[in-house]
Symmetry: C2
Subunit: 208 residues, 2 copies
Amino acid sequence: MTDTTVTGTAPKGTALKATRHNHDQESILLVAVDVFNRHGYDATSMGVLAENLGITKSAIYHHVPSKEYLLQLALDRALGGLEAILDDPLAETGPAVDRLMFVLRSATGVLTDQLPFVTLLLRLRGNTELERAALERRRAFNKVIAELVDEARADGAIRSDIDPRTTTRLLFGMIGSIVDWYRPDGPVSANAVADDVVAVAFGGVRAR
Amino acid sequence: MTDTTVTGTAPKGTALKATRHNHDQESILLVAVDVFNRHGYDATSMGVLAENLGITKSAIYHHVPSKEYLLQLALDRALGGLEAILDDPLAETGPAVDRLMFVLRSATGVLTDQLPFVTLLLRLRGNTELERAALERRRAFNKVIAELVDEARADGAIRSDIDPRTTTRLLFGMIGSIVDWYRPDGPVSANAVADDVVAVAFGGVRAR
């Protein structure tokens, strides 16, 4: 999650305009993901993509072999970012509740850094083999978090008066909703969002 | 929110099969909302609806004037349920934090009771005048919650170290996500979900 391109914070609008007629695979990917998110992957043809890029379809094929390839690249970026969290030593050692906090905070960071890619991932319907494979990777990531919740609960660090499945789902729901409202150029920084997610998830909103 | 039909808990599959060829407006509405949620409102034609109902298009028109009318009925059910919460004396008197808890708990109840209708509402894109009017009502409801958060924060009952906009959005995100995983016939009861939402939202998941 550290060495992938941070697209969310780049001045996207300007960058895209400047390279509108001089695309490489990366700039095509950024525009494609944006169009997928606005119109839906299924509803986006290579013709629609070409229109949005201001180039011909054959110019796209010069850089990428297919629409599906763009989807794969985009999903790999989102999933790669999330999976990298689990390889961090902070996700693998120490009390379960600390690892859980680290993973949730880092996942929030991937959401805000890789916003369009994670948005695409979270809206997948699983219509094709490729989409189902991505959903499988997403489920594997979620399963690790669910296990951390269970472990932290067994340690007595997570309250036991809440159904553990519901606990996990409310945590996912809270984090996943970020793609609906977070804007890189908005008034709340990505760091502040990550702080607030951890604060609300673990401590709740009530003052004490 | 008490006298509307509780569709979420009815044995839908069987009920629908039994009346497949003997529909009234209510049973057509239930099937329509289900089809809208699975395929998208825009992608659902009256022909597709007829197929799913096992009746002819003209038989549908005998009960409802248009697809848009079904959407209006469905959205009214979701929004009517949410708006009714705000008319309850418990939403209008007492400390802001208590009113906030009451509204969040009740909104969770509307989500689980009116699951397909709220799912439709939460996935609206605002493509038509009718959809935009519904989104406007949804925003008005959300605004009341945001104001309750502000008021409870000013009272010192909501922690002040979290951005108030983020607080409100995380609360919405947590509740809205319920439509993605709650199933009326699942292992967790609607009441337990509402309890857990309030517990996590206000107290967080950490044991103390």
